[in-house]
């Protein structure tokens, strides 16, 4: 089980340049496997262009109380990158100017940003159709000072999206750390108790399933059925939707693939599962990802690979309207993770 972030261990793959180099080497050398750009070209989808902006995803910081084995952020307690109040204000000002349906807050654990509470209250006043907090659940039970969260989420109409890779303790703890399963169950019960995930309320609680290893997620509908049955029967827990998300070869998951000698096979699986029908619904087409320091990216994965927006405007302070971010979306081989099979996005499978 992972105890330290790649950054803390000063690992080679903590550096995004080394990750990008790796993603263009090995099986992608000498055209053994086609690059993502080649696959897009073959299906007349290159260059990838954005559609209408619908989701603003803000990364409030890389600090997290957990160190999950597959984390593409390399988040952990030692990460000090946190969005400042000034940048948060800039985000709010932008949201008042442009029309986005969804504000999606992520991290790290977004709740660890010292201005989290203020920011969510301000965001709620703007009145998004969907205000998402990607909460890791254990933050709720980690410390007395976070016990306010369930009621706070409820009073601010927050849509909670939380990871739970399996309905069994071992599989969950192997991916997310010792004790995470039991604490997640406790947190889910608290959320259920105030109405989250229940059919007769508007308090939405979705769970995220990431495979705990070098394989793709199964069919979202079947997994959701099984998750619902097991969590209900064993713990009396209910939730709304299960979102299956493919692990992309970025940061810690990339490090795991290399260390376990699964990289070449995994990439081949992703490439063989390339499905052009997913292209029009890829999240990079309707989302902008904002990093803790205010830079703009096509998605959270491009943020971690430091592939900034390919447009004249690359920082949120310079963004005034949507036309400034018409661009060619930046791609590399990690993008195969979003186009494999039924496709993958922060909102789960896409077709």
């Amino acid at each position: 089980m992972l105890k330290k972030t790649l950054h803390r261990q000063k690992k080679k793959l903590a550096n995004s340049k080394n990750q990008l180099k790796l993603l263009s080497s090995r099986v992608f050398e000498n055209e053994k496997l086609p690059t993502f750009k080649t696959s897009l070209q073959k299906t007349q989808n290159f260059p990838l262009k954005p559609s209408k902006l619908e989701i603003l995803q803000i990364n409030l910081g890389y600090m997290c109380n957990q160190i999950c084995a597959h984390c593409h952020v390399d988040a952990g307690p030692d990460r000090k990158e946190i969005m400042t109040k000034d940048t948060l204000k800039t985000c709010l000002n932008l949201c008042k100017k442009i029309d986005v349906k969804t504000l999606d807050l992520t991290g790290g654990a977004p709740e660890l940003n010292p201005n989290f509470k203020w920011f969510v209250e301000e965001a709620n006043k703007i009145g998004f159709k969907d205000l998402i907090v990607r909460s890791n659940l254990t933050i709720i039970t980690s410390n007395k000072k976070f016990e306010y969260l369930p009621e706070f989420f409820k009073s601010n109409n927050v849509h909670i999206i939380s990871s739970l890779p399996h309905w069994t303790k071992n599989k969950t703890d192997n991916q997310r750390g010792e004790g995470v399963f039991n604490n997640s169950i406790k947190a889910l019960k608290k959320l259920n108790n105030i109405g989250y995930g229940k059919a007769n309320t508007n308090l939405q609680l979705d769970l995220v399933y990431n495979p705990s290893g070098a394989f793709l997620p199964g069919e979202q509908i079947s997994l959701e059925k099984k998750f619902k049955k097991e969590l209900k029967e064993n713990f009396e827990i209910v939730f709304n939707n299960l979102l299956t998300i493919t692990n992309l070869p970025v940061s810690r998951f990339l490090d795991y693939l290399i260390a376990s000698e699964n990289y070449d096979d995994y990439m081949e699986t992703l490439v063989n599962a390339y499905n052009p029908k997913t292209i029009n619904k890829l999240m990079c087409k309707n989302t902008i990802s904002v990093s803790w320091d205010g830079y703009l990216y096509d998605c959270d994965f491009n943020q971690m690979l430091n592939l900034k927006l390919n447009s004249p405007v690359t920082h949120i302070r310079d963004l005034e309207n949507e036309t400034q971010i018409n661009r060619n979306i930046r791609v590399s081989q990690h993008c195969y993770g979003c186009t494999a099979g039924s496709g993958s996005s922060c909102q789960g499978s896409i077709i």
Partner: protein, 111 residues
């Protein structure tokens, strides 16, 4: 590269069977796809049956394929091992039940 009768890379080429007999190859793969769809049994249950049969047939390709398929479907290692034991028990039982034939023959020939 060491030469062995089984090569895991060959599993990826399974579809090539169709190259030498398109009609029968396609009929097989259509049938195969249809069999593993959700029906009266769930796709998950069928995956566990396939895993058990893979062991009984001692097919290394099938074992790799249905271990991975099971992981994708969220099947736990406990469930997988129980399926393998179910297959193993039937295989042992099939051997052992022939003991009756041995007993019958023994009794018939003996005074």
């Amino acid at each position: 590269m060491s030469k062995t009768y089984y090569n895991s890379e060959d599993l990826k080429k399974f579809g090539d069977i169709t190259n030498w007999n398109k009609k029968l190859g396609e009929k097989f793969f259509d049938y195969y796809k249809e069999v593993f769809k959700e029906g009266s049994l769930t796709a998950r249950e069928k995956s566990l049956i396939a895993l058990a049969v893979s062991h009984v047939l001692k097919c290394p390709y099938c074992i790799d394929a249905y271990t991975k398929d099971g992981l994708e479907k969220g099947i736990t290692k406990e469930e997988m091992m129980e399926a393998v034991h179910a297959g193993s028990a039937i295989e042992s039982g099939a051997t052992l039940v022939h003991g009756i034939q041995m007993m019958n023959k023994y009794n018939k020939l003996s005074m």
